[in-house]
């Protein structure tokens, strides 16, 4: 039963990931990426991490991708045209490199499978909100506080960059100066 669910969600994740790369219209890429996030959230639930799954949907699919789709709509991004002949070699290069990487990872995984140090997976209770909360506020308090300062930096940085008359001038305004 779990194997069927794993194959289902895994296939959905890989299919949507391939669609992200293969689609030429960036809005369709964004929608496929939302599909990847949702299938990953289902996989997290299978791995007994329900809190992380909910946070994945809220943060990634519900906030970050909303921002990306907003930017795509605001900038009115069109489809990609065919690239120049000078750079046509990039697609086969990428495919070959991807094949090399998958071969390396497969080698590692096969040897790990043969080593005796893999514990079994029973239903674990590490993923409950309570254990995450207690660990976050006691043992990992410093990363938590640093992350909050990081978010503050991101807010200030994004506002500075996107302000009109800010750091980077629009082209006609730069020509006027």
């Amino acid at each position: 039963m779990l194997v069927l669910l794993f194959i289902l969600f895994g296939a959905m994740a890989i299919g949507c990931a391939l669609a992200v790369v293969a689609q030429r219209n960036p809005l369709y890429s964004a929608i496929s990426l939302i599909g990847v996030f949702v299938s990953l959230a289902c996989l997290y639930v299978m791995l007994a991490a329900p809190f992380i799954a909910a946070v994945q949907v809220i943060v990634y699919a519900g906030a970050i991708m909303v921002l990306v789709v907003f930017v795509i709509m605001l900038l009115n991004v069109e489809e990609e045209e065919h690239r120049r002949p000078r750079l046509r070699f990039l697609v086969p290069t990428a495919v070959v490199l991807a094949g090399v990487m998958i071969a390396e990872v497969a080698f590692i995984l096969v040897t790990v499978q043969q080593s005796p140090a893999i514990p079994g997976s029973s239903t674990s209770d590490v993923g409950l909100t309570q254990s995450i909360g207690s660990a976050l506020f006691t043992r990992y308090l410093l990363p938590f506080e640093i992350t909050s300062i990081l978010l503050l930096m991101a807010i200030v940085g994004a506002m500075t960059l996107a302000r009109r008359g800010g750091l980077i001038q629009p082209r006609d305004q730069a020509k006027r100066d």
Binding site: M1, L27, Y28, I31, I34, P50, F51, A54, V55, V57, I58, A61, G62, A63, V66, V69, F70, M73, L74, L128, T129
Partner: protein, 353 residues
């Protein structure tokens, strides 16, 4: 896969179907109730021709939507155009499964105990917030894919309004999580029983309740926050180019969102299925107690729906910049203040909570 798992899955399907049917009926009659109550507020009668007192009006509306011509604009992006109402309705319906409609009911003369919640998991509240976040996509993609400047503006405005007020909504709920100590909705309702109704969280977190209500009205794009879809602004906003069944799906999604938000308010603030003196009269675990609790829950939800309709009939609407100003500069600081107040109260009087 043994038979017990298969039977469990089939029972879950039956439970989901029952929940959806109940929701769709309530929503269909909410549409009728809105038209009649608005009529009474405005000094006229609402629709009262179809059936006795207009009670068959939803079926007439459904028939109209099915039989209308389905117009698809020529230059729209077809896949996204068809996907958008599906996402909106799916996100609206998916939150239905975590609400406890009542305590466990024991069917009389048998030993079968049915819990009145479809899915009981320990992150219920986060699940609701997550699915509500995904519901924004339906509106954004609808505005974009109609290939219409006014739809795009309406879609962008509606979605930016929704994501702004989601923050205040989530923050006002943190006070409830502090009071309850759990994210599980069934547990939260259990914790509000006792003291004959004075343990409801609205008495401990009243500012949060008001903020939640305002943020919820903004989330569902209702008056006074319904600028993106009002008839006098931007034609009809993001669903200008939708006709017949797809428009019916958007319409349905809006009313189901209203219903969802009312159910969440009832569960978190008004004690869910706790009716004040039902425990003393009937005793827990009996069939009558379950029935009275479920009816009490529905009555509280209907009160919130009536509040929505009442607000629609009486208030004018905000301008868009006033709306965003209110959401970010006034509501968000007050939500943070409410968390602060509740946390201080819990810290100072730990045995009261």
């Amino acid at each position: 896969m043994d038979t017990q798992t298969v039977i469990d899955i089939l029972l879950k399907f039956v439970a989901i179907t029952v929940a959806f049917v109940v929701v769709l009926f309530v929503v269909a009659y909410t549409v009728l109730a809105e038209r009649r109550v608005l009529g009474f507020i405005q000094g006229r009668l609402g629709p009262n021709r179809v059936g006795p007192g207009g009670l068959l009006q939803p079926f007439a509306d459904l028939l109209k939507f099915i039989l209308k011509e389905d117009i698809v604009p020529d230059k729209s992006t077809r896949f996204v155009y068809f996907l958008a109402p599906v996402i909106a309705t799916m996100a609206a319906l998916m939150t239905m499964i975590v609400y406890p409609f009542g305590p466990e009911i024991r069917i009389p003369f048998t030993d079968i105990v049915i819990p009145l919640v479809v899915a009981h998991f320990d992150i219920g509240l986060l699940y609701v917030l997550g699915v509500t976040s995904v519901g924004v996509y339906g509106i954004m993609l609808a505005g974009w894919s109609s290939n219409n400047k006014y739809s795009l503006m309406g879609g962008l405005r509606a979605s930016s309004q929704m994501i702004s007020y989601e923050l205040a909504l989530g923050l006002s709920l943190i006070g409830v999580i502090l009071l309850a100590g759990t994210l599980d909705l069934a547990q939260i309702v259990e914790l509000q029983s006792g003291w004959h109704g004075f343990r409801w969280f609205i008495f401990f977190h009243p500012l949060g309740f008001v903020i939640y209500l305002i943020a919820a009205i903004a989330e569902t794009n209702r008056v006074p926050f319904d600028l993106p879809e009002a008839e006098t602004e931007l034609v009809a906003g993001f669903h200008t180019e939708y006709s017949a069944m797809k428009f019916a799906l958007f319409f349905l999604a809006e009313y189901i969102n209203m219903f969802t938000v009312s159910m969440l308010a009832t569960t978190l603030f008004l004690g869910g299925w706790n009716v004040p003196f039902a425990e003393d009269i009937f005793g827990r675990g009996t069939f009558l107690f379950g029935l009275v609790s479920a009816i009490g829950f529905l009555l509280k939800v209907i009160f919130f729906l009536f509040l929505y309709i009442w607000l629609r009939g009486t208030l004018p609407r905000f301008r868009f910049d006033q709306l965003m100003n209110f959401g970010w500069k006034i509501l968000l600081p007050f939500a943070l203040l409410s968390i602060f107040i509740t946390a201080t109260l819990i810290f100072l009087f730990p045995n009261l909570f």
